[in-house]
């Protein structure tokens, strides 16, 4: 490694860090915390003449800026001697009065007496460094803090409690079992009725591949869970997109007028529907326009559509679906789409007609069934923001459409929520598949087995673990060895 590279590595965890753990400026109470070898020293400097508080016991203390300094606050102080603390280091938590001033002054006093301001995420990084949690847990801690929906909260909490780590650990165990079979097969050829045939190895490898793939299937939904599914409101001008946007948000965020072409720039907001996060985007009505600003707005809308996870396509219920709309739908390709017939309060019931889904469109024989079929119109909902028709139904189907798997299994299941995670599991899976294929081609197991080490490494790196010799341990536990 070059020195340049090493200078980009995180600071050594030899110093003491301090940070405000609560949001600055808000709340009646704030929490300042410190971690590191000097944490107790710094506390002593802030509480001259006082005994150290008993470990893990909230104790009232007057905090001053050093000996004879001004009183900063009277606050509850708790100390956590290592290693039984969040970071595994000596830690101090100071619960002081909130607002802008007091926490800032206490933090400054900590820094003045030996601590330094922490980098974002540094407490958690130290927890990983000291083996308090693995990398996957640490990532989940961030998700938990940033969580904006119940589902994300549940999933993150489940992972903080090692749900995903345990699953990955189990997969690694399963891999070690395959390797143990191989070890038995190769290293103990003369034992009592050698119980491990190549078939048994292959079966175990198949089961492992299936388990890896099952976990991988959670990745698309899991990653959406963190970011929120990009849900784009699109359709002709004046079709009621902004009105629906406001209705779903529960506040008047977008400007609504009866002038077509009102919305220009895209508006974005994360909302929770049925406990799942959606990144709702209101866009400009799609039409060819001479107005340069509106033109740009349409451009922006198209860009959002390119990365949409779901499209809510709004068409007034009294209007028929014209060729322009059908062309648009076809252009969406395989992005799941919901067709919304808006303003149904203005349309007599019997006049609301029209196809429901791709199949419906094709069956009705409207336009070219072939092309419409290419779009993925999953549902159609009749909607009115005036009398509320269809809003309940829409909120019901949205989670199912995007998070179907998680809706069915519940969010307390291991799910991959980051690219780093799915890449590692994918790599392990690819290696295992290569191994299975090699066996099928007749490659001797002793040779093919070289493919499994990288799979093991991938899973271990995911957890930030190290490889230990567990394979032989497994052999000795499961088989009677001893020629």
């Amino acid at each position: 490694m070059t020195d340049e590279a090493s200078s980009r590595l995180p600071e050594l965890a030899v110093d003491t860090i301090a940070a405000l753990a609560t949001s600055p400026g808000v709340g009646a109470i704030a929490l300042v915390r410190m971690s590191g070898p000097e944490a107790f020293e710094v506390l002593r400097a802030l509480t001259p003449g006082e005994d150290d508080p008993a470990p893990r016991t909230a104790t009232l203390r007057s905090l001053t800026k050093g000996e004879g300094g001004d009183l900063l606050d009277r606050a509850l102080v708790t100390s956590f001697p290592r290693p039984e603390s969040y970071t595994g280091e000596d830690m101090v938590e100071i619960s002081c009065h909130g607002g802008w001033l007091v926490p800032r002054m206490i933090l400054d006093a900590c820094v003045a007496t030996g601590a330094r301001l922490a980098e974002p995420g540094e407490f958690t990084r130290r927890a990983v460094l000291h083996g308090k949690m693995d990398l996957v847990q640490a990532e989940a801690v961030l998700d938990l803090i940033e969580g904006r929906s119940k589902a994300q909260h549940d999933a993150a909490l489940f992972q903080v409690e090692r749900g995903l780590s345990r699953r990955i650990g189990e997969l690694r165990e399963q891999l070690v079992t395959v390797e143990a079979y191989l070890a038995h097969h190769i290293d103990f050829p003369e034992e009592d009725e050698a119980p491990v045939t190549v078939d048994r190895v292959a079966d175990a490898a198949d089961a492992l591949r299936d388990a890896l793939e099952e976990l991988l299937e959670t990745a698309p939904e899991g990653e959406l869970l963190r970011e929120g599914a990009v849900t784009v409101l699109a359709g002709p001008p004046n079709s009621g997109k902004s009105s629906l946007y406001n209705a779903l948000l529960g506040e008047e965020r977008a400007i609504v007028t009866d002038i077509p072409g009102t919305t220009r720039d895209a508006l974005e907001a994360v909302i929770s529907i049925g406990g799942f996060p959606f990144r709702l985007v209101d866009t400009a009505g799609l039409r060819d326009s001479d107005d340069q600003v509106e033109e740009l707005g349409v451009e922006v809308a198209r860009r959002y559509l390119d990365r949409a996870d779901l499209v809510l396509f709004c068409v007034e219920s009294q209007a028929d679906l014209g060729s322009a709309e059908l062309e648009f739908l076809t252009g969406l390709g395989d992005v799941p789409t919901v067709l919304l017939r808006t303003k149904v309060d203005l349309t007599p019931r019997d006049r609301v007609s029209g196809p429901l889904t791709s199949e419906g469109l094709a069956a009705e024989g409207l336009d070219d069934g072939h092309r419409v079929n290419a779009a993925d119109v999953r549902e159609s909902v009749d909607l009115s923001v005036v009398d509320g028709t269809g809003l309940g139904r829409l909120k019901e189907i949205l989670p199912e459409l995007v998070y179907g798997g998680l809706v069915r299994t519940g969010t307390s299941v291991p799910a991959l929520t980051r690219a780093r995670q799915s890449e590692a599991v994918q790599k392990a899976r690819d290696q295992v598949v290569a191994f299975i294929e090699a066996l099928e081609e007749g490659t001797p197991v002793a040779v093919a087995s070289a493919l499994l080490r990288p799979a093991e490494t991938a899973l271990e790196e995911l957890l930030g673990l190290i490889s230990t010799d567990e394979i032989l341990d497994r052999v000795f536990r499961e088989f009677c060895i001893g020629k």
């Binding site: 050829p189 003369e190 197991v445 080490r453 990288p454 190290i466 010799d469 394979i471 001893g482």
Partner: protein, 629 residues
């Protein structure tokens, strides 16, 4: 012994480690003295007279490739040879030879006598001579001997104690041989960490009392295989082994007498090897196994004694007779020697450097069983490396260390030092992360050039190596260059169930098909070499061409690990003070004192995060050191 009693290197112990250590040191040009209490027992096989087996067979060939004795002695003594794992492809072929218990030590002694500059002396070493923390020689019953380097290879003798049943125990290094107590005490008193292991051996029986009709005969491979790449010994005729099975009767006898077993009665404190359990162990730990396999193996050409492989025990003699009589074929068997368990001192090997030098005492080297290993091959490999390094030290030359991707010997020594061991350590292929590179067929190709460069090979071995290298190259070239006509190829392809070809095709192309063997191609293509004698060269192309992608990837992986190994860690790094590293990792690294980053990464309990911090700490520490000096 010469009159001034001064040598360059002294080897303590004439077992498998000691013999190789002595020969290697002397071959490098060090004046070497081997001291052992009974010169008639140099190279004696304490337990099963067999060399090789899984991974161990590769080590025996590595020892030979490095100019050692074991390969030759085995060839000259083998009375049954088998290539284990033959059906699993040459990548994991493992040669194993049953040896004549008399011929083997005879071969070892003959090889030792050929080495100039090597002297033998019969005595028991009782202590070390030391000056300023350095070794200066040894003390024996008969006086003092001086040398700048001493290699201790005392095997199972250090405070050895033998148990036959729970109430008969006696101090011994092997049956009938005195233990080495003073040396153990002295080394412990000097502050070395010491611990205890145990192992066991099965009874021997008189073959004339066996009903072979109730057993299954197992013949050796009718093959002219040799462990030695350099020296052609003449091979004795072969003898069969016999297989039988234990059953309910034996289980009943063992269970009824469990409390009389030294291993189970708590008389023995040390840990035994899990891969070599006693019959008591097997019965207790695997209650569902209906039967256990037993091999009756010949002890010699002229001997009628058989080794009862699979029934190692520490039950009393009469119980051994009773359980043997329940085994088909052994109903009337006569026991010639009873089985026993032995416990002994060893030195937890984290106290060593990769040269096998004891960290605390420059000039002192340990090899073999006393480092916590078991097995002749493991002992021989260490002995050779320790002897060579002792000599290199005295001669002022740089040390000789084998890496994990170079040899099983490298895996063995690195495992011992880095991971330690809490049971007697033996090699398995699964301990090696590069087993496609570490094969028996390429031992001389891998290690011969290294040995030649250092000076471990004799003139004769050098010449043999050159011939071998030429032959390897010729065989390889034949496969790459030869084009086979469809008329010659198709009959072979038909036989192997491989699709026929229409155009002339290169031999190496056909070899890439998993089902097509190299030897068949050599015949079909009219090769000038004989695949049945050039077995190593043919096995090598079989794997290196057929599985080229795999071998290449493994080599790449090895190279990238090597780069990591390039980051050296200072010997005097104060691990206790490196607070950015987790306390567990700090403690483990302080114990092992890894010499490279890669080694640190292999220590159980050291995480990638610890390694990252370690890099930074080392940089910081170096800067600080630079300021002070």
């Amino acid at each position: 012994m010469s009159s001034d009693r001064t040598y360059d290197v002294i080897i303590v112990g004439g077992g498998h480690a000691g013999s190789e250590a002595a020969a290697a040191a002397a071959r490098l040009g060090a004046r070497t003295l081997l001291i052992t209490p009974d010169l008639a027992r140099v190279g004696q096989m304490s337990c099963n007279p067999a060399i090789g087996g899984i991974a161990k067979g590769v080590v025996a060939r590595e020892v030979d490739a490095l100019g050692g004795i074991m390969g030759r002695a085995t060839d000259a003594a083998r009375i049954q040879f088998r290539m284990l794992n033959r059906s699993k492809g040459p990548a994991v072929w493992s040669p194993r030879a049953q040896c004549d218990r008399e011929l083997y030590p005879f071969g070892v002694r003959r090889a030792l006598d050929e080495v100039p500059g090597l002297f033998l002396h019969e005595d028991m070493v009782t202590g070390l001579l030391m000056q300023d923390g350095r070794v200066t020689g040894v003390r024996t019953g008969g006086g003092e001997f001086r040398a700048e380097a001493v290699v201790v290879t005392a095997g199972t003798f250090l405070r050895g104690r033998i148990h036959i049943g729970s109430d008969a125990s006696v101090g011994a290094g092997r049956v009938g041989e005195a233990p080495s107590v003073e040396l153990a005490q002295e080394l412990e008193a000097r502050g070395l960490e010491i611990a205890r292991f145990k192992t066991g051996t099965p009874p021997r029986i008189d073959g004339r009392s066996v009903d072979f009709t109730r057993t299954e005969r197992q013949d050796g491979d009718p093959q002219d295989f040799r462990f030695s790449s350099y020296v052609r010994e003449s091979i004795p005729e072969q003898r069969p082994c016999w297989i039988t099975w234990t059953g309910e009767g034996l289980r009943e006898v063992v269970e009824r007498n469990l409390d009389r077993s030294a291993l189970f009665g708590g008389e023995i404190s040390g840990r035994g090897p899990r891969y070599c359990p006693s019959i008591e162990d097997k019965i207790v730990r695997f209650p569902d196994a209906a039967r256990h396999q037993v091999f009756l193996e010949p002890e010699g050409l002229e001997s009628t004694e058989l080794y009862v492989n699979g029934l190692s025990t520490s039950l009393p003699a009469e119980v051994q007779v009773e359980f043997l009589h329940t085994v088909p074929g052994l109903e009337r068997v006569e026991v010639t020697r009873v089985g026993y368990a032995i416990e002994y001192d060893y030195f937890p090997p984290h106290q060593l450097r990769h040269t096998l030098e004891v960290r605390a005492f420059p000039g002192l080297y340990f090899a073999g069983q006393i480092n916590g290993t078991t097995g002749y091959e493991e002992a021989a490999g260490q002995g050779l490396m320790a002897g060579a390094n002792a000599a290199l030290r005295v001669l002022g030359r740089s040390p000789f260390v084998l890496e994990r991707d170079e040899a099983y010997i490298g895996v063995l020594i690195d495992d011992l030092i880095t991971k330690g061991t809490d049971e007697p350590y033996r090699l398995f292929t699964s301990r090696a992360e590069f087993r496609l590179l570490l094969r028996q067929d390429n031992a001389s190709r891998r290690l011969g050039p290294r040995a030649r460069e250092i000076g471990l090979l004799t003139e004769r071995q050098n010449e043999a190596l050159e011939i071998l290298e030429e032959r390897d190259l010729r065989v390889q070239r034949w496969f790459v260059e030869t084009v086979i006509e469809p008329a010659d190829a198709n009959p072979l392809l038909g036989q192997c169930g491989s699709s026929p070809v229409r155009q002339p095709v290169r031999a190496s192309e056909l070899l890439k098909r998993p089902e097509v063997p190299a030897s068949g191609l050599a015949h079909a293509g009219g090769a000038m070499f004989d695949p049945s004698t050039d077995t190593d060269a043919v096995a090598a192309v079989e794997i290196e061409i057929k599985y080229e992608g795999y071998v290449r990837r493994e080599a790449e992986r090895a190279r990238s690990l090597r780069r990591q190994a390039d980051f050296e860690l200072p010997d005097d790094l104060p691990y206790e003070d490196l607070l950015s590293i987790s306390s567990e990792a700090r403690e483990k690294m302080a114990r092992v004192r890894p010499s490279t980053l890669a080694q640190a990464g292999r220590i159980p309990g050291v995480s990638p995060a610890d390694l990252q911090s370690l890099i930074l700490e080392v940089r910081r520490w170096r800067r600080k050191e630079a300021c002070f000096t």
